[in-house]
Structures are given as C-alpha cells and as structure tokens.
Chain length 376, copies 2
C-alpha cells in the first residue's frame, strides 16, 4: 500500500450563476479540487469523497515541499489502499463557503471587489451537492461509481443518493445522521455564539479590521473537539493526569493534561480556519434534514433512492451515535433498498471515521472491491 | 406538605484565620446561611444541605416581597416533605468563594479595602467542609444527623464522611462522582476559557473596570446547560422545532427553539452569577479526588468512613453517570460499610437531582424516616 505521492490542487471556474436554497445567488464561483488515479475509458470508475467541517479537497497525497501535508483521508485513499487509486478515479472537492480555495467568505465578492466575509450567503448540503454535480458535468463524468463521506460528508453522500439517484452507484455514509439532534444543534450554537460575540468578529468583517476572532474560534474548536472524542478515549488518553506533580491551585493556568491538549487544539484551529466558514458549515449541518420535505418521514424521503448503500457507525460515537445510522438503515429497508450496515466497536468516538481501524478499513476495502467488480 | 414559608438569611463572621488547601489564608470570613425547622434539645437532628455550582444557602422557603424566590431544593425540604422540617433542623450554607453573600470574589478584601475579584484564593471542597464545620461548632452542633448534597454538593457530603467521620450519621450523595472525568474537566476548562478570554474579564478585576464578562459567562452557562440535560430530554422538549415556520437562512439569528432556550439561559446567568466564582467553583470540582492521597485507591480512601450511606444516580445523567456512583458504592462495600444505592430511571439527565421525581423523593423520604427513628 502506497501513497498517491505528490499532488496539486486544480481549480475550475463556473461563470453560470447558482441559485442557493436560501434564495441568494452566487453570480459565479470557483471550485478547488484534487483527483487521484485515472479515469477509465468508460468514465465509470469515479468516486467522489465529500469532506466534513474542517477538511478540504486535499484527501490524499502530499504537497511538494511541505512536511506533514498528508491529505485528511490518506490512510484510506491510495494505491492498494481500501479506496484503491489503481482502480478508481478519486475526486476531492472543497465545498463553497469553505476556506481552502473554493469561493467562500475569504474570497473576493465580485459585486463589491472586497472579501465576502459575513456577506457570503448561507449554504446547505444541497447547494454543495449541486455544485459538485456541476463539477462532474464539467469533468465529463455522468455517473459516479460511489460517493463516500463521513459525518457532514456522509450527509452529502446521502443527498446525492436522494436527488441524483441516477448518477450514483453506491452511497457510503459513515458516522453520520439523518439530521442533527437538539443536542447537536446546541453544541453548534454555543460554538457560533462564542465566535459571534468575540469583539474581534466585527459582524463577520474582521478582515477589514485586520484582525481575526481567535478567542471565539478557540472556544468553538475546544467544544467541538470534546464532542469528537469518546468519553472513554479521553479518559484513557488523559484521565486526570496532571501537568506537574504539584497542584498549582490556579483557575487560569493548566493543571490537567486534558486542558493543555484542548487549548493546543483551539490555538492551532484559530490560526488556520475561517470564522465565517465555521458559522456557515455548522449551519449547513443544522439544516440538513431530508425527511423535512416528507412530513418528517425518513422512509418516504428515501423512496427516491436507487443506489446501493453502505452505512457505518462507531459504538463510542456520541456525536452521531449508532442509533442515528440505524434510523437511516431502517428507512432504506422500509424501501427494500440494498443496504449493508456495520457498527464498528471502536474506542475513539466520532473521530474514528478518520482513523485506521482494521475492521473498518477491511469493510470499506470489501465494499470497493464489490464496486470495482461491478464496473468490469 | 407545606413550605417553610418566609425565611431570612443569617450571617456569621469568623475572625479566626483559615488556612486553605492552596496554602493561602483567609484572615477572616463571613458565612451566610439559612436554617429551617427547630434544633431539638439533644442537638441531634441537624441536617446540612450542601449546594452545587450556582446554588446557595437559600435551600427552601421564600423571601418576603420577592416573587419566585423559592429555595433551590424547596420541593424536598419543608414540613411534611421528604426532608421534613417538622423533624429536622436543616441548614443551608453559602460556600466561601461563591457570590451570594459569603466571603468571596465579590466581597471586600480586608487587606486592600477593594473587592477581592481575581485575588480571592482558590478554594476546594475540603476548604468548604472545614468552614462548614466551624459554622456548626459555632451553632453548638457536635454531630449532624445527615449531610446531603447533589453533584458538587454530593462531593461535600462525601468529604464530610471521610474527614469528619465522627460528626456525621448519614451521608446522602446524589448524582455525584468520586472525581471528575477528563471529559468533565474538559467542559469546565472550555467554560473557563470563554470567561477568561472575554476582553471584559480584565484579568478578573472587571468590577474595577465597571464591567462584567457577560459574553464569557453566557457561553460558559450554555455549555454547562447542555451537560445538565439528557440528550433525550433535550430531544423531547425541543427536538428540531423551528422558531418560525420559514427558515431564515442565517447563522446569527435563532432558527431552532433550542437555540433560543440556550441563549436565554446564558443571558439570565450572566446577569446574576459572578465570573470569578464560576472559575473557582469549577476548579473545586476539578480538584476533588479523595483517592488521590491513597494512590488512586478509592476503597482505601473510604476506609476512613463510619457513617451510613445513601447513593443515588439517574440513568440519563451523562455528566455524572451512574457508573461513577457505582465506583463509590464499590469502595464502600469493599470496606463493609452500610450503603444503599438507587439508580433512578429518570429522563432529565443531571438536573434530575433537583426535580420532583416520585421514586426519587419516596426514596429520600424513607431514608430520612430511618434517620429520624435513629434519633429517638
């Protein structure tokens, strides 16, 4: 098993306006993407990888001259890996509204000549999928062998299966949910409030004030990070381990190792992630709810699906618990749709979908072998 | 079952310095407290109620001229109620470091003549219990029939049983834990960072700057509130209910009812609770760990206990889960100590300890009847 090696992002400009679910319109936009492997002559071996909150189009491989630049799913995607780039043409796209190159709050608003900032419109999972469809049209790919994603990426994969049923062979939705619970929304909302009430937020136009709402982003990331890890993982990794052997009796300095870890995660995040993007992407999570247009009946929503499904959840994931995946499985079974479901006994919580668990990867390898066989 | 009716807080000044666990010293201090019922001639029917993070000495009854001024455990304490003030002399004490009258960050530092603010020393559960002991000495109460508390209040009850074993007949520890988990500390730490990094915090001397770190307190309370409620309670009460029928496609305005609820809780809290107190009390939670002085062996820690124990947990409490109470029960059983344990099937999460659940209150009623019989 190897790496896809050195990769470079590509970009494509779309001059045709796109109407968003909010009613707003993007007059034009750019998508940044990467591809790995080779599109076959039948153009049938393409697999789209959808990213979650803070990831990007950079799924696999490394950038030249950059240490530790492996893509976020590099353990899954590459020659001989479960999603085998010797067999599949893999595409990663940075979603609009994100902050890694595609049109979003950090890019220039053509109407004003200034950075969008808070003026960038609210985007939804459906908007992202629509924009991904346009990219595939431009690449001449009429049908995807599969769409795969974890967490928010899984929601995009589900939306593909519902609204572009004839353009997708397999939907692989991992550690995801048919919608956010009240508790999920609550955590998102606290994180957003931390950002929005940071005096350096300036109503979302912080770049014009030459500053960044770092305080808010740090707190937002710390909250998020707690929910990505399982209680047990946090306990076995940090427990009550102290930073030094003697208690300092302080409320502001670090006493416990878990505090230092969380602060470090918050600091890192606040330096590379855009605050407006954080607001937009958590909102896209909140809004996703395919049953909403069907009176809350998820089975009716999935009546539109025709592809084959692989659902995966992780036992210790309390952000998107196995019960949420089972709701999707039930809705699919109610429609007699081909679905496999695996509940992986992994200790890591929600983050498990990004990690290299043997049973999890063996399962995805088997699924992609089945998909590859169907192509021939 | 009635109310204890109109009540008034009392206060007692202690001129004798108190050395704290941190090494710091309070030269003198005041404790504010309330009592309900009548101390019997043998002075044997006193029950101490210990409060948690944001509560106070005002356990039961109402204040004259104040609407909605019921004490925080008014459903439990009163004539004919489970903790029956016709039989027991009940004492509620505001802990030092709190912000409801006892010496703390909002009171005047006698050394400087200014409000303590951030100069108030870090306090621990053990410090609180020591100060409670002094109050009981002053009231002429050599031995308590029982100490009862939930959450952080339960930790104080446990500490009483360990360090003042000969002064307590029963320890009733509800929805508590032998120490905080890494996840518990993590939530406390995020809340503290939100407060400390609020520009209006001014290093904890916000009152001198005539302001309050309301932004930080709001976020802290929102985080806390999520952890007090069970996932299911939040789901059945709010679910994905929208504020208005049409989505607004906004990241800053309220779309979902749960958002409005949390913001309201945060707003309220930021108006009445002191930020330095929040830091101190969450730190006291972090530090509590009776096994620490015994090589991490909780059973060895509880070898010092001689009173009878009642432990109670709630099935949906994920902040202090039943498993944490069971650790305490096991440590007690290892020492062949008299302990009853009830795991109440309640939907409300951690907050259940404050609510009027029939099985829960019947259990406490039975316990206090047993205690009353032992007095006669």
């Amino acid at each position: 098993m190897g790496s896809v090696g050195l990769v470079s992002p590509q970009s494509m400009h779309f001059a045709q306006p796109m109407r968003l679910r909010s009613g707003a319109q993007l007059d034009d936009y750019t998508l940044v993407y990467e591809t790995y492997g080779t599109l076959n002559a039948e153009r049938s071996n393409a697999v789209l990888v959808c990213h979650a909150l803070n990831a990007s189009h950079h799924v696999a491989g490394v950038y030249g001259g950059a240490d530790r630049s492996e893509g976020w799913w590099d353990n899954l995607v590459g020659p001989g890996k479960p999603l085998d780039t010797d067999r599949f043409f893999v595409i990663g796209v940075n979603n609009i509204g994100s902050c890694f190159g595609s049109t979003g709050p950090t890019t220039t608003n053509p109407r004003t000549g200034r950075v969008y900032g808070a003026d960038f419109p609210v985007v939804t999972v459906e908007d992202w999928v629509d924009s991904q469809v346009r990219l595939l049209d431009a690449l001449g790919i009429a049908r995807l062998a599969a769409v795969i994603g974890g967490s928010l990426g899984g929601m995009q994969a589900l939306d593909w299966s519902l609204r572009y049923a004839d353009r997708i062979g397999h939907c692989i939705a991992i550690a995801t949910a048919p919608n956010l619970s009240a508790q999920n929304i609550a955590f998102n909302e606290v994180a957003r409030r931390a950002i929005v009430t940071d005096p350096d937020f300036h109503g979302g136009h912080y770049r014009e004030h030459d500053t960044l709402p770092r305080r808010g982003l740090r707190v937002a990331r710390m909250i998020g990070h707690i929910t990505y890890l399982s209680n047990n993982a946090m306990e076995s990794r940090f427990g009550r381990e102290l930073k030094s052997e003697v208690l300092g009796y302080t409320t502001q300095d670090i006493e416990f190792q878990i505090e230092g870890y969380l602060r470090h995660q918050g600091d890192k995040f606040s330096e590379y992630f855009d605050a407006n993007t954080y607001l937009l992407i958590t909102r896209a999570l909140d809004y996703f709810d395919p049953a909403r247009g069907h009176g809350g009946d998820l089975a009716r929503a999935f009546a539109a699906a025709t592809c084959k499904f692989q659902l995966v959840s992780f036992t210790t994931d309390w952000r998107f618990a196995p019960a949420r995946s089972r709701e999707i499985v039930k809705a699919l079974l109610d429609n007699r749709i081909d679905v496999s479901y695996a509940e992986i006994d992994a200790p890591h919580g929600h983050d498990a979908f990004l990690l290299d668990d043997a049973r999890y990867h063996a399962l995805l390898r088997a699924r992609f072998e089945r998909i590859a066989e169907e192509l021939t």
